[in-house]
Assembly symmetry: C2
Homo-oligomer: 343 residues x 2
DNA sequence: CTAATTTCTTTACGCGCGTAAAAAATTATT
DNA sequence: AATAATTTTTTACGCGCGTAAAGAAATTAG
C-alpha cells in the first residue's frame, strides 16, 4: 500500500491485471474465482488498499452481504455479550453486521425494521421487545426479510427461533431451592415486558405442583426496563408487608434480583444460606454482574455461547436456503445452575 | 398506503405529480423545497410508502446522511445510555446513525474505522479504546472523516473532544471523604485501559497535596475490560495484605468499586459510614448499577445528558462547517457528587 | 399589473458497479 | 494431442439516483 489512489473497480482491475467482471465476482465471493486469480487480486488489494464502493455494490445486487442485528435494550450487558459473539461470527463469514437497539420502545423497533428493509439485508437476527412489540409490523417484516428471532420468541414469526429453555432455568432453581431449604416464592413484575417471564412463571407453578408444594407468586408493580428499581421498590413493599410465606425468594430474572437484594440490604435483612441469614434469594439469567452482588447471586445461566452461536448458524443456513425453511425451527438451550452465596 | 408498489423515484415522481429532480432535492433536504411542494410529496409518501434506495442515493452524494457512532465496549451500561441519546438526536436531525462497538479490542477498532470510511459518513462520534487504540490509525481516520471524540480524549485527534472533567470528579470525592472522615487511598488498575484513569490518579495526588494529606495509591494487577473481577481480586489482595493506611478507599471507577465491594463482603468487612462499619468506599462514574450495590455506592456522576447532547451538537456544527474547525474544541462537563451509603 | 425573484420542470449525463452473453484462454480429462 | 470442462475476457447494458443547465411557471415585490 502506498501507490497512488485507485478510484474505482475499472482502475483497480487494470492495475491488478484482471478483468473487471472477474474482480467483481471476487468481491461477491472470493472462492468463486480460481486460486491463482484470487492471489493476484489479493496482492493488488494489499498493494493499493482498494475497497469497492459499497453503495454501488449493493445497489443492483438483489441480496446484499449485510446482516441486521436488533436487540431490545443495549444498556443490558447481557446483550452486549451476545452482540459481540454475533458480530464476530458474521464478519468471519464475510458479512457486514449492522447493529440496532430498540431501547425498550416499540416505536423504535418499528423504525428499525423500516430502516432494515431499505438496507436489503441478506438476513436479520431479531431479539424483539416482546409484549410491547408491534406484532403485525414484525410479521410483515418477516415475510419480506429472512429473519431468525432470538432471546424472546413470538409465536410463528420468523423462520426460526433460538433461545433458552425457560423451563430448564426454573426447574433447576426450584428443585435446588426446595431440596436445600424452604420452598421459594416467585418474585416478578405484574406486567412483564418479556414473554420469557410468563414462561418462567408457568414453569414455577408447574414445578411447585409436581413437588407437591404450595406456589406463591409475588407480582410487583412497575413497567418498562428499569428492572433494578422496580425490583427494589417491589422488594421494599413485599418486605414491609411481610408478604413472604417462606424465607426463600426466586426472582424471575437477575436484574430484578439485584434490585430486590438492594431492598433487603436497606431493610437490614441478611441474604444468604445458613445460620445468621434471614432469607435466600435466587434468580435466572447469570447477568454479568450477578457474580458481584453482595452476596453473590445464585442463578441459572444462559448458554450464551450456544444461543448466539446457533442463532448465527441458523441464519446462515437460512440465507443459503434462499430465505425460507420448510418448517419453522425452534431451538432451546438448557440453563446451567450456578450456585453462589445468596441461596 | 396500500396502492401498488412504487419501484423507483421516477415512478414516485410521476404519481406524486412532482418532477424527479425536485423529489430528489426533497429527500436530500425537505426544507429546500417550497412548503406546498413538500406537503404534496409527503402526502404521496404517506400514500405509497415510498422510500428511496439508500444505496443509489449515497453512491453519488459526496456526503451521505450517515453518522458513525463508535463505543469501546457495549456490555457497559454506561455506553448504552449514551448511545440511546445520541441515536435519538441524530434521527431527529435527519441523519442515520450506525452503531459500532470495539468490544475492547484495538483490532476491532481499526476494522470499524475502515468500515466507516467506506460508509462515507457525514461525521463520526468516536469514543476510543484509549491506551490500546492504534493512534496512527485514528489520526489518519480523523484526517479523512469529520470526527468528534467523546468519553476519552486522545491529544490532538479529531476536531473536538467532549467529555467529563476528571478533575472535578476526584476533587469532589476527595474533598468530601477527607472532610467527613479519614482521607482516602486511591484504588486503581496498574495499567488502565482508559486515559481518564491517569487523569484521575493525578487529580487525586494533586488534591491530597493541596489538602496537606499523605496520598496513597493502590495499584492492582490486571488488564482488559473485566473491571469487576480485577477489582475483586485486587480487593482481596489489598485486604489480606492489610495494605490500607486508612479506613477509606476511593476507586478510580464504579466497576472497579463494584468488584472491590464484593471482595469486602466476601472478606467480612462492612462497607459504609458510621458505627458498625469497617471501611468507606467511594468511586466515580455513577454507573447505572451503582445505586444497587450493597450498600449503595457514593460516587461522582457524569453529566450524561450534557456529554451526549453536546457531543452531537458539536458534530452537527462540524458538519455544517464543512468538516473542519479553526481550532480543536475541548468541552468538559463537571461531575456531580452523589452521596449514598457506602461513604 | 409588470418586473424581479424564487421554485420547479425538462433534458441530459454520469456515478460505480452488477450482470448477461459470446468469444477467448486456460486447465483437466482421456 | 485432442477434446471437454472450466475460467476469464470482451463487450455492452442498466440500476436508481445525483446533479447540472436552461427554460417555464409560480410567487413576491414594487
Amino acid at each position: 500500500m502506498g501507490e497512488r489512489k485507485i478510484k474505482n473497480m475499472e482502475e483497480f482491475a487494470s492495475v491488478s491485471g484482471i478483468s473487471r467482471p472477474t474482480v467483481s465476482k471476487y468481491f461477491n465471493d472470493p472462492t468463486s474465482v480460481r486460486a491463482s486469480t484470487r492471489a493476484r487480486i489479493e496482492a493488488a488489494i494489499e498493494q493499493y488498499g482498494y475497497r469497492p464502493n459499497i453503495y454501488a455494490m449493493n445497489q443492483n445486487r438483489q441480496l446484499t452481504k449485510n446482516i441486521g442485528v436488533v436487540v431490545p435494550y443495549l444498556a443490558d450487558p447481557f446483550f452486549g455479550e451476545i452482540v459481540r459473539v454475533i458480530e464476530r461470527r458474521c464478519i468471519e463469514a464475510g458479512f457486514s453486521p449492522s447493529l440496532f437497539s430498540s431501547h425498550g420502545e416499540a416505536e423504535q423497533e418499528r423504525d428499525i425494521l423500516d430502516t432494515l428493509r431499505s438496507l436489503k439485508p441478506a438476513g436479520v437476527l431479531l431479539a424483539p421487545l416482546g409484549r410491547l412489540s408491534d406484532k403485525s409490523a414484525i410479521e410483515a417484516f418477516c415475510r419480506d426479510v429472512p429473519t431468525v428471532l432470538f432471546d424472546s420468541n413470538i409465536d410463528g414469526m420468523g423462520e426460526a427461533f433460538v433461545g433458552s429453555d425457560n423451563y430448564s432455568f426454573v426447574s433447576q432453581t426450584v428443585e435446588y431451592l426446595s431440596r436445600t431449604g424452604e420452598p421459594p416464592s416467585f418474585f416478578e413484575m405484574k406486567t412483564p415486558a418479556n414473554p420469557n417471564a410468563n414462561k418462567r412463571r408457568r414453569a414455577y407453578l408447574d414445578m411447585m405442583e409436581r413437588l407437591g408444594l404450595e406456589p406463591h407468586v409475588l407480582q410487583i408493580d412497575g413497567s418498562g426496563w428499569a428492572f433494578e428499581e422496580i425490583g427494589r421498590k417491589g422488594g421494599h413493599d413485599v418486605l414491609s408487608r411481610d408478604a413472604l410465606p417462606t424465607n426463600t425468594v426466586l426472582c424471575s430474572n437477575d436484574r430484578l434480583a439485584i434490585g430486590f437484594m438492594s431492598a433487603c440490604f436497606e431493610a437490614g435483612r441478611k441474604v444468604g444460606r445458613g445460620a445468621g441469614h434471614d432469607l435466600r434469594v435466587a434468580s435466572h439469567d447469570d447477568h454479568p454482574f450477578s457474580r458481584y452482588t453482595c452476596p453473590s447471586l445464585t442463578t441459572a445461566a444462559h448458554d450464551y455461547a450456544n444461543v448466539s452461536g446457533h442463532a448465527v448458524e441458523t441464519l446462515f443456513r437460512l440465507i443459503e436456503s434462499g430465505g425460507r425453511f420448510q418448517t419453522r425451527e425452534e431451538t432451546l438451550f438448557s440453563a446451567r445452575l450456578i450456585m453462589r452465596d445468596s441461596a
